[in-house]
């Protein structure tokens, strides 16, 4: 918080809510400790194995990394172009479908008709087992798919920008937001038109793909490991790009203060182009990885994921790339560990509730105030 008088007043006004949330969080922690110890005191406590907590945390970490990866692009477009991009979730789906089409093409080439492969099993009757895409069986195909997802989604994001958003650069955020809802509809339903509407399995099952860590009771899947490595790799690359390159510096400048950046002669349109390429590409990659994690694909999964991505971005503070990653991790862990207390019907609702609380208590986010790009 700042040091001016008004912000102190604001902080004081926000405090009762903050206090309540802190108390609630503390209570949950105490309850968690009691559950782990197997003690029950009144409504608190119960029993919970460390193994379950561990696997909840691990699953949350994996989902969180994917959401954070998608959130980077959303956060960047939000800060540099000043609008909430509702078509971001559908870019996530674009990456998944195009990436898996190519991964299938490589994995199942020769035995299975190309139209079945490229349409991610919409046409034809081959099962995912026939195609056999799996990181252990066909690592090359899975990696190539990831690259394709990045590249194709980046191009589509750029095309959407040129067609829809560029003519609206000087308009207010809400107008562009509405246009982005239109873009989202176009992309999502073109995907449905081209790839069909049914949910289907994608990855094949391979024996011995689970690596168990016995002491913690954790079971780590080879796909989860792939996701962690790929997501962390992309995030580190992003970090170096932002901190070490001229483009990254320009992006951070644009995000911090657009007018000042323009005055200093930063080529705004070029930075915007780069933003779409990187943000869109990361969204596509995260969609591809999300399907690798879940094993199934459906035309609107990215849209359904969008609110979680927004939650991550808001949690971390809009405009902050590192905030988006941290927010993604928090949302992912809330998503999986909330099932300890509430029925699994509500884990998504819990993540949204965390987002809403954050917006109400600290709208600038966890890392608010420091715009790191």
């Amino acid at each position: 918080m700042g040091t001016t008088e008004s912000s102190i007043v604001d902080a004081a006004r926000g405090r009762p809510g903050l206090l309540l949330v802190t108390l609630l969080g503390g209570l949950l922690l105490v309850d968690l400790a009691a559950k782990l110890a197997g003690v029950s005191v009144g409504p608190l406590g119960g029993s919970l194995s460390t193994g379950r907590l561990g696997s909840n945390l691990w699953n949350g970490l994996v989902i969180g990394l994917v959401i954070g990866l998608a959130g980077i692009g959303l956060s960047m477009t939000y800060s540099i172009l000043s609008f909430a991009n509702f078509s971001h979730g559908d870019l996530v789906s674009v990456g998944a479908f195009t990436g898996w089409g190519v991964a299938f093409l490589v994995a199942g080439f020769g035995d299975i008709p190309i139209r079945t492969l490229l349409s991610v099993r919409d046409a034809g009757s081959a099962t995912s087992g026939d195609i056999g895409a799996h990181i252990l069986a066909t690592p090359g195909a899975v990696l190539l798919g990831l690259v394709t997802a990045f590249v194709v989604t980046a191009l589509i994001a750029l095309a959407l920008d040129r067609a829809f958003y560029k003519p609206m650069r000087d308009r207010d955020g809400i107008s562009i937001l509405i246009a982005s809802i239109g873009a989202a509809l176009i992309v999502r339903y073109l995907l449905q038109f081209a790839y069909g509407s049914d949910r289907r399995g994608v990855t094949a099952s391979v024996e011995a793909s689970n690596l168990a860590f016995d002491p913690l009771g954790l079971s780590v899947n080879a796909h989860q490991l792939t996701i962690v490595v790929a997501a962390l790799g992309l995030m580190v690359a992003m970090h170096f790009m932002l901190q070490r390159t001229k483009l990254g510096t320009a992006m951070r400048a644009m995000a911090d203060n657009k007018d000042l950046a323009l005055v200093t002669g930063i080529p705004a349109e070029r930075v915007v182009t780069a933003t779409w390429i990187i943000g869109g590409g990361l969204a596509g990659a995260s969609g591809y990885l999300y399907v690798l994690l879940r094993g199934t694909i459906q035309f609107d999964f990215g849209w359904l994921l969008l609110l979680l991505i927004f939650a991550a971005v808001i949690l971390g503070g809009i405009g902050s790339v590192y905030g988006a990653i941290a927010g993604g991790l928090v949302i992912g862990i809330v998503f999986t560990t909330s099932t300890i207390w509430i029925p699994s019907d509500f884990n998504e609702a819990a993540a949204f509730a965390v987002m809403i609380l954050m917006l109400l208590l600290r709208p600038e986010g966890l890392f608010g105030g420091v715009s790191t790009a």
Binding site: R115, R171, L185, L307, F310, A349, L360
Partner: protein, 442 residues
């Protein structure tokens, strides 16, 4: 349109009653505009289906009018929040779900033959309760959320609408309600709606085959005894008349609200919050009020819409897509204009929502080719006819693509909607022309 100067009394003259407001609207040709649009839509629909006989024409017209009116209701409620006060609420679906579910829970019998139990109270109580719950949740959402920037408010309301849907979907919540209050939501299977009173107007206890005196008269003249229109369609038209009355009610309410000092403050807030604040208006209180009123109206719109459909279920009926439909209706009409909202609702329902499906299926009947099982198959066949067969058989996704393009196009070219040239009277009197002068409405 308010800009046409043919009005002898001056556009600023105040309606002194509901009928006065209606006449006023008609004189300024707004009503004429709406009726004209309806007429064009009716003509097109008749042309599309007249070969199938009178019954299907009247049935299609009923469907189109029903959809047009329910969208108009929802669009009017949203217009109050967004058009008047600039509150970007994209949780419309959630508030409609709250209204209709509360109504269902309150009215359903305590031990029904099937489905979740309810409180078994009369229908009017249920409707009021539905509006109240929507309003209270709106209040809870608004109290803190209105401090946020417009796009944050959008995300928060979308989140709230999804939370509402997830709760209604959840079987745990259903069981919890059954355990504590003895009522239920039905979870993912949904809930049967109470009998529509309009049906009882035509049929004794709503049972088919036992018409009331009024039903006898109508069925005799237009139904089996006369023109041969099926009874269910005639009852449907009866409900359409009720909806039309509600649309008029909403319209008059919002028009009067918009012209009141309160409404002018709203528009001032939308245009420049800082100025309104500096002039001593309690901006936050006014925003909360308008948000709550809008949410109550959305609850009512949800009741009138989905409460008449026999069965409601949280998915897919109350997905955020529903909110975007309503938004498109408002945007087509131009946000801020009540006539625009009604017109947008009607145009959206007929031209964008129902139209493509009908045209698609009509085209499909003409095409003599087997539908390929997937887009890839259609492409591989290299046959434009089979591609067209696939497209017309899968018209639903293409319809959404069309909706998307319409949204983008309107935002690019006509951000003020179809009635974009409308001069909005934010002032009590129309400042662009003042033929008699000196009139005030305070």
């Amino acid at each position: 349109m308010s800009g046409d100067g043919s009005d002898p009394n001056g556009p600023g003259s105040t309606p002194d009653s509901a009928t006065g407001a209606l006449l006023d609207a008609a004189r300024r040709s707004d009503l004429g505009l709406v009726l004209g649009t309806l007429l064009v839509i009716y003509l097109a629909a008749t042309l599309l289906t007249f070969t199938n006989g009178l019954n299907s024409v009247v049935g299609l017209l009923r469907t189109l009018t029903f959809l047009g009116l329910v969208y108009a209701l929802a669009a009017l409620a949203l217009n109050l929040q967004w058009g008047y006060a600039g509150l970007f609420n994209i949780g419309v679906a959630g508030f409609m779900a709250l209204g209709v579910y509360t109504m269902g829970i309150v009215v359903r019998s305590p031990d029904p033959a099937f489905g979740p139990p309810g409180f078994g109270l009369p229908l009017p109580v249920g409707i009021v309760a539905g509006m109240l719950v929507a309003a209270v949740v709106g209040l809870l959402a608004a109290l803190p959320a209105l401090r946020l920037k417009a796009d944050y408010l959008a995300i928060v309301t979308l989140g709230i609408s999804e939370i509402i849907r997830l709760f209604l979907q959840s079987s745990s919540f259903d069981n919890f309600l059954r355990g504590t209050l003895g009522v239920g939501t039905g979870g993912g299977r949904g809930m049967g709606m109470p009998q529509n009173p309009v049906r009882e107007l035509f049929l004794v206890d709503g049972q088919a085959g036992t018409p009331t005196a009024f039903g006898e008269l109508v069925f005799g003249a237009l139904g089996d005894g006369g023109l041969g229109i099926s009874n269910s369609i005639l009852i449907g038209w009866g409900y359409v008349a009720v909806l039309a009355a509600f649309v008029i009610g909403f319209y008059v309410l919002l028009e009067r609200l918009g012209r009141s000092p309160f409404g002018r403050t709203l528009k001032a807030i939308r245009e420049d919050e800082l100025v309104a604040d500096s002039l001593g208006k309690n901006v936050n209180l006014i925003k909360i009020k308008v948000f709550v009123i809008g949410c109550a109206l959305m609850g009512l719109a949800g009741i009138l819409w989905f409460g008449s459909q026999g069965n409601v279920s949280p998915t897919p009926q109350f997905m955020p897509l529903l909110t975007f439909y309503v938004f498109i209706a408002v945007i087509i009409g131009g946000s801020g204009s009540n006539t625009g909202a009604v017109l947008g609702g009607i145009v959206f329902a007929a031209v964008l929502f129902e139209g493509p499906r009908r045209v698609g299926s009509a085209l499909r009947d003409v095409i003599d080719a087997e539908t390929p099982s997937s887009f890839a198959d259609a492409l591989v066949s290299l046959d434009p006819v089979s591609l067209l067969a696939y497209a017309t058989d899968n018209i639903a996704p293409l319809q959404f693509v069309l909706l998307g393009f319409v949204l983008v196009f309107i935002m690019h070219r006509r951000p003020d909607g179809l009635l974009g040239d409308r001069i909005e009277t934010a002032a009590a009197v129309d400042l662009s022309e003042r033929p008699h002068g000196g009139e005030t409405d305070e």
